[in-house]
């Protein structure tokens, strides 16, 4: 029996996931769950094992409005709130965490252009990004600067009405296959205030890509270095003013962190359901595993961690959309907590599948591999611990 083709029974898990949501949010969630179950889950193993970037499926999702969730409707977006988007990505992630994570990055880029771009830039890029006619990548990290993002070296020297870019970005999700690159680069002096944000289009002379990285997970999205060699980009492609780039990047990441955390939550929910189903089926010592008190307790713990993670993430989403002063630390805390807890859940789920959990025939190992990286990118867990303390209000 191919577990991956078995439709997951939502019942109680689904209902807990929709607690506290408005009727409209439940409708969004329902569409996202259905899309995940019908269009993504049956293919997630195939995409993972063959390293396929599922362009057609993502475009179908975009037709439903998932390409620009928080982008304004006047440029093709769905105009959702942060909480709406979190609910959507959490549900989509139950179908494939890796693809949903890429979609959340794409959404982050579309939002950055929509929020910080002028009307020409919004009109030029957002409609195609919202429909996923074009795909986007977020370029901040470099070989020499990950956590220490503000020390980035990629330079952008002004020559007339062009910036000339030199440098390279590392670990770029979608790199090489995407069309629009949102690039943080140095136009001024050292530190965050010298950084600007430029939109670079694929095909620009001087823009090239490294080899496709071989990863433990996130295989349904290619990851490559993005290389700039005297790459000339019009000044008109700059989002906001010079020196605003770091601020734009960090604002983008607030939402990005919520969405990555949401993907972890969705993956954990899927794993709990898979584990529960497995426990009904698998017998040892003459009884189904579901009769084992120890395993019942374990499952209850996992469910508790899931609900706690979800609450943190949704609380942070609300704070962000209401522009509350505690929004940034809450986003960092939610990302820290949810990605760690949900990885623990998925890992535990793998354990409870026994030997079968280690086989690629079973979806649980893919969720484990896919969300492991959520503890690393968009703010390594250890730095997430620092950020809330750095906020003056907590000291």
């Amino acid at each position: 029996m191919n577990e991956l083709s078995q439709r997951r029974t939502h019942t109680l898990c689904f209902l807990i996931a929709s607690v506290g949501l408005s009727d409209e949010q439940r409708e969004f969630q329902k569409v996202a769950f259905d899309f995940a179950a019908n269009e993504m889950a049956p293919h997630m193993a195939h995409w993972d094992q063959n390293e396929i970037f599922p362009v057609e499926t993502m475009r179908k999702a975009a037709q439903l409005g998932f390409g620009g969730t928080c982008v304004h409707p006047d440029v093709g977006g769905s105009g959702l709130s942060r909480l709406d988007a979190s609910v959507v990505f959490e549900a989509l992630s139950t179908g494939c965490a890796s693809t949903t994570a890429y979609m959340s990055i794409h959404n982050m880029c579309a939002w950055m252009i929509d929020t910080f771009g002028n009307n020409e830039q919004r009109g030029k890029y957002c409609p195609d990004l919202c429909s996923m006619e074009k795909f986007a990548s977020y370029c901040l990290t470099e070989p020499g600067s990950g956590s220490d993002a503000a020390s980035l070296l990629t330079s952008a020297k002004l020559q007339g009405d062009l910036y000339v870019l030199n440098g390279s970005k590392a670990f770029i999700s979608g790199g090489g296959d995407t069309d629009v690159y949102v690039v943080m680069c140095r136009t001024g002096g050292k530190g965050p205030k010298g950084i600007s944000c430029l939109v670079v289009e694929k095909g620009t002379p001087g823009l090239s890509f490294g080899k496709k990285e071989k990863k433990v997970g996130w295989n349904s999205q290619p990851t490559r270095a993005v290389i700039f060699e005297d790459c000339k980009v019009p000044v008109a492609n700059r989002l906001g003013i010079e020196g605003q780039g770091f601020n734009i990047a960090m604002k983008g990441l607030n939402g990005g962190r919520i969405n990555i955390a949401s993907c972890s939550v969705g993956a954990a929910q899927a794993c709990i359901q898979l584990t529960r189903d497995h426990m009904h089926v698998r017998k040892q010592f003459g009884e189904p595993l579901s009769n084992s008190q120890f395993l019942q307790f374990k499952l209850a713990e996992m469910a508790t961690r899931l609900v706690a993670s979800r609450l943190m993430v949704r609380q942070a989403a609300l704070a962000l959309q209401e522009d509350r002063p505690d929004a940034v630390p809450l986003c960092s805390m939610a990302k820290l907590f949810a990605t760690d807890e949900c990885f623990t859940i998925c890992n535990q789920a793998l354990q409870m599948h026994g030997g079968y959990g280690y086989l690629k025939d079973y979806a649980v190992q893919q969720f484990v591999r896919d969300i492991r990286v959520h503890q690393i990118l968009e703010g390594k867990s250890i730095w997430q611990k620092m950020r809330p303390l750095q906020n003056q209000k907590f000291l």
Partner: protein, 254 residues
């Protein structure tokens, strides 16, 4: 051009849920269980919306009978493209005993009130598998019916329906107004898009009671008992063909 299509949508336990019988055997557990629109009703809504997109009908009205929660189901129909909804409030004991007879009376009354010329329903609901509402509605209205439709084409004031029957496919032509019930292969329902879900919020759902339509809700059916299907029995291995034949004779099968 046909003015109005009435589409019935039923809120049922989601098809993927494992059904459990209540301990008192009076029914199945519905509290805290995921519900959604009956899959055949989804197909009916999809067909109606497609007719509207082809400009063959002017308005699609989604109807559901039940308690407050059925408004979710009507909203889903609105998000798929229906223009407005009608919620016929039925709750408590009336809802427990609600069946095809009462629903068809309600639909017939609404069809007259709304001056609908086409009613599209799912062929049956996945909870009771009655496969009666469409047929009863047509009988009450004295309208022709095209049931188990796998294809529906409007040709002027007539409707061509291809029906899936045991012997194959039967094509019939009916004079409007008609009742059509949707079968699985009629179409593949669309996902509601996020923008359409948001637009659906603004669409109107009218509330009414069966009494407003002059419908008698008394049930002629009483459910005595609900049980789980019998557990599948283990099989028996036999050594030879003679054994097999004697065992079959014992069981009265031959």
């Amino acid at each position: 051009m046909t003015a109005r299509v009435l589409v019935g949508v039923k809120r049922v336990i989601d098809y993927a849920v494992k059904i459990r019988v209540k301990p008192d055997n009076t029914g199945v557990v519905t509290d805290g269980v995921k519900h959604s629109m009956n899959p055949f009703c989804e197909i009916a809504v999809e067909e109606a919306v497609r007719l509207k997109e082809k400009k063959l009908v002017q308005e699609v009205v989604a109807v559901s009978c039940g308690p407050q929660q059925v408004q979710e189901t009507i909203r889903t129909a609105l998000a798929m493209g229906a223009d407005r909804g009608i919620h016929v409030e039925v709750s408590g004991k009336d809802y427990d005993s609600l069946g095809p007879l009462q629903v068809s009376k309600i639909l017939a009354a609404l069809a007259k009130k709304e001056e609908a010329s086409l009613i599209i329903l799912g062929k049956q609901a996945i909870d009771d598998d009655c496969n009666q509402t469409g047929q009863m509605t047509a009988a009450l209205l004295d309208w022709p019916q095209g049931t188990f439709a796998s294809e529906l084409v409007i040709e002027g004031d007539k409707v061509k329906v291809v029906r899936e029957i045991d012997g194959g496919l039967e094509t019939i032509k009916l004079n409007m107004p008609v009742v059509v019930t949707a079968d699985l292969r009629l179409n593949t329902p669309r996902y509601a898009t996020l923008p359409n879900i948001m637009k659906a919020k603004k669409k109107k759902i009218a509330n009414m009671k069966p009494g407003d339509l002059g419908v008698d809700m008394t049930s002629r059916v009483e459910v005595l008992r609900v049980d789980e299907p019998p557990q599948r029995q283990a099989g028996v291995k036999v050594e030879s063909v003679e054994d097999l034949v004697s065992k079959l004779k014992e069981a009265g099968r031959i």
